[in-house]
């Protein structure tokens, strides 16, 4: 695959600080959890380089990005350098005044707010007491001010039985156009709390069945690029392909699931460039010292991750003989790293063969 001259988008961890400690946070407890934040001037200097590289948009994350005291200055720097921006937030610090400020820039693509339950007891189970009420207040502030609110529901043991109520709250009561889902994954703090949080095969089966049912009830309004809904769609497609012996399409049968390294990069709160916010241990260089364009085009680790796409799954002992191998893409390299110690492996987390061996069942198709 051809590589663009520069990344199209970057995810920037503008702070390592957060006012919450969610028990499945991918940031804390990982290499992303660094001991300092960059000063304003460093980010502003970097934004000028992003303009030179014709980067189109940045996602401001953390930590909790709204903890940056100089946030308005940073946003002004992004706007002045001809980019759009979005946020990944826990929602608890969003006020009407902040939402109005972001809207008035005309460049804010949206704010992703995490809502994991339909009531405090469910949401706060993994996010801490009081966080639900504050996140909902933030969500309402975004809505009142006409800013796109992109809600993400992270599914875990404590909310897997509440998905229908959560969907009703978000889509009916709050009238969101849609919301996204994923699952508590073996990254960051979740690695310490995996037994208490991560879905087992039976719970995953339930989540898939429920989400597909909700998808039929609310057509097109529940999204997923990872987690049970994405897996349900992917695995049902693989099962259909197996039954019909369908020809493999591009990338199937290889470690080709992740295309992120072909269009985006990330920067940690300490200014270290990484391939992805979830591969923070791979240090590619430092902003304002190393050229973004040069790192993007020539860094051997990025080349290696791009070349990963050509590694056939049949090279892996566990995959040999798998009846789905021809249609599998090997899944997330970050989870492959945290689960196996090597991102050049397929990720066991989203392995259909393993899921079925563990007693999981594919959802029924209607």
């Amino acid at each position: 695959m051809k590589v663009m001259s520069t990344p199209r988008s970057l995810e920037l961890a503008i702070t390592n600080r957060c006012n919450l400690r969610c028990s499945y946070c991918y940031h804390f407890g990982s290499a992303d959890d660094v001991d300092r934040d960059l000063p304003t001037a460093e980010w502003l200097q970097f934004f000028a380089e992003l303009k030179e590289c014709a980067v189109l948009d940045v996602t401001l994350a953390g930590g909790e990005p709204f903890l940056r005291e100089d946030l308005r200055e940073l946003v002004a720097g992004i706007v002045a350098n001809r980019m759009r921006f979005s946020f990944l937030s826990n929602g608890t610090l969003i006020t009407d005044e902040l939402a109005a400020f972001l809207r008035n820039t005309g460049r804010c693509q949206g704010v992703q707010v995490s809502i994991d339950g339909e009531a405090p007891a469910v949401h706060d189970a993994a996010r801490g007491r009081g966080s639900f009420d504050r996140a909902i207040a933030g969500l309402k502030a975004l809505q009142r001010n006409g800013l796109p609110a992109l809600v993400r529901v992270t599914i875990h043991k404590h909310n897997v039985h509440h998905l229908a109520k959560i969907a009703r709250l978000l889509l009916e009561e709050y009238e969101l156009p849609s919301f996204g889902t994923n699952a508590a994954s073996y990254l960051g703090l979740c690695r310490l709390n995996a037994n208490d949080l991560q879905l087992n095969a039976a719970e995953r089966s339930l989540a898939m069945e429920t989400l597909l049912e909700l998808d039929r009830k609310y057509p097109g309004r529940i999204q997923a690029t990872a987690g049970p809904l994405a897996e349900a769609r992917m695995w049902l497609e693989m099962e259909r392909a197996r039954q019909t012996n369908a020809p493999a399409t591009s990338g199937q049968g290889c470690l080709a699931s992740c295309g992120g390294v072909f269009n985006k990069m990330a920067v940690r709160a300490d200014g270290v460039m990484t391939p992805c916010g979830q591969l923070p241990h791979i240090e590619l260089g430092r902003i304002n010292r190393d050229s973004l364009r040069d790192v993007w085009q020539h860094h051997p680790e990025l080349q290696r991750l791009r070349d990963r796409q050509a590694i056939p799954l049949t090279e892996f002992a566990y995959c040999r003989g798998c009846e789905y191998v021809a249609w599998c893409r090997g899944n997330c390299p970050a989870l492959a790293y945290t689960l196996t110690g090597d991102d050049a492996n397929p990720s066991p987390d989203a392995c259909l063969k393993r899921f079925l061996e563990d007693g999981g069942r594919l959802p029924s198709e209607r």
């Binding site: 001259s5 199209r8 014709a54 189109l56 001809r82 980019m83």
Partner: protein, 93 residues
């Protein structure tokens, strides 16, 4: 359109040359992008308020061995299309 018109790029718009043969004009105020080919990029880089459409066409003909007869019309249509999208304006005489 007057071939003496001098197009000038909207300074907010980003030209992103992703590959040798493909570029995007991106308007960060709307979030919309428009794919442009290398000829479009050639023109865009001359939409500086100093070059007339006739001059741009002449430079294009000089740079390309096989510029078609309708190149002038194509450049005009391209600039009209971009003006319609707010990506360029015209220098006031």
């Amino acid at each position: 359109m007057d071939t003496n018109a001098k197009p000038i790029a909207n300074p907010s718009v980003v030209l992103r040359e992703e590959f040798d043969d493909c570029a995007v004009l991106f308007d960060p105020d709307t979030g919309e992008g428009y794919a442009v080919n290398p000829t479009g990029v050639f023109c865009w880089k001359r939409f500086d308020g100093r070059h007339t459409l006739a001059e741009i066409t002449a430079e294009l003909r000089a740079a390309c061995e096989d510029a078609p007869a309708e190149a002038e019309q194509n450049v005009q249509e391209f600039s009209e299309e971009l003006a319609g999208k707010g990506l360029i304006g015209f220098e006031v005489q």
